[in-house]
Amino acid sequence: MELTTKSSHVSVEQLASKLVLGYQACGLPIPDDVVESHRTAFVALLETGTWFTAQKRQVILQEIRRAQSCKLCLQRREAASPNWVRGEHDTATELPQHLIEIIHRIATDSGRLTHKWFKAVTETANAQEYIEITGMLAILVILDSYARGLGMTPIEIDRLRFPTDTAEPTRETNAAVVDEGAWVPLMAVPKSEAQVTSGLPEVPNIVRAMGIVPLAVAQFFQIMRSHYGLQHMNSELSRPQIELIAARVSSYNDCFY
């Protein structure tokens, strides 16, 4: 897969600097730790992953953005069931069709995914690739949602120069996983005394969900923690106010968890 590099294209580092400057100049008090976590997350998105090269990850990001204007995805969103609508996605890249389907469906209609759909798409893509894509997508959603929320334009991935990171993915799999009823194996964690006493899990399932790709867990929660934590949060909002917003957004996303 070839990506052309035009002279007007900029490097990851230049775009990351632009992101930071944009936050600093937007006239709103963006906390320093948020600015730094977003810069770190953006740079990491364009580095070699566990299952994809840096080049492939750039292409995946472009496809995530393209999904927002895909006619097939729009028709599916308007249908009573997305699975009743057949057709081809509008694509921005030459990624294989099964990856396009994964990216577009999670990006545009994640609330109506089913286990049957998951099993079909992971007949070709392995679960680790699926998780790496999902983690990347979730990070990009946070970056884009935050930028738009502040009245800023999301960072321009299409203007990115070819990544200079040419390392090969390690394709390492975390063997310490267990089947606990999710579509993917969850990170194995011992049930501690504290958990039994409090009734609350020390490692919530949402953290364990990407356990087969530890790098994806680290990259996602690096940015997630700058906006939300189960404990110590440096926020002007009260805990009920924070959880109200969290619950409402989860509801809009048809999220059971």
């Binding site: 709103l28 008090p29 906390p31 069931s81 699975n83 999670i106 990006a107 994640s110 109506r112 995914l113 089913t114 049957k116 759909w117 998951f118 699926y130 998780i131 999902t134 983690g135 979730a138 990070i139 959603v141 884009d144 949602s145 935050y146 738009r148 929320g149 502040l150 009245g151 606990e180 999710a182 579509w183 993917v184 899990p201 919530p204 399932n205 949402i206 969900a209 940015i223 906006h227 939300y228 926020s235 002007e236 909002l237 805990r239 009920p240 106010q241 959880e243 109200l244 917003i245 969290a246 619950a247 409402r248 957004v249 989860s250 509801s251 809009y252 996303n253 048809d254 059971f256 968890y257």
Partner: protein, 119 residues
């Protein structure tokens, strides 16, 4: 689910059964504008977001508005992971929220319900 716990910790009697309703009235301070932020961030409409942001800055202040946008953005992202992995509730959460899920209609987001509707 954590909204219920945080309300209990702060001794607030929150009407959680309306969290999924269009016009929620739960009893959280400044909830109307916070819910508008949640909606605007999810829908991602620039004009609606700008109106909502200005209103929120007037009511809850600029730093709280930025924090609220951050929480909404974060959950817009993390829900994609939960949805895409068919993630079950943690065992203790599943047991303690059975009635709440039924009352609020959250059970319609479950894997069993989705399969029955979309497969």
């Amino acid at each position: 689910m954590l909204l219920r716990e945080s309300g209990e910790q702060q001794k607030l009697n929150l009407a959680l059964d309306s969290i999924t309703a269009e016009a929620a009235n739960l009893g959280v301070e400044n909830e109307a504008v916070l819910l508008k932020i949640a909606e605007a961030v999810f829908k991602s409409n620039p004009e609606e977001m700008a109106r909502c942001r200005d209103e929120a800055i007037t009511i809850i202040g600029v730093r709280a508005t930025v924090d609220a946008i951050g929480v909404a953005a974060a959950f817009n992202g993390i829900t994609k992971i939960a949805n895409a992995t068919g993630l079950p509730l943690d065992e203790s959460t599943a047991l303690s929220t059975r009635a709440l899920r039924s009352d609020t209609g959250i059970d319609r987001f479950s894997e069993i319900w989705k399969s029955s509707q979309y497969d």
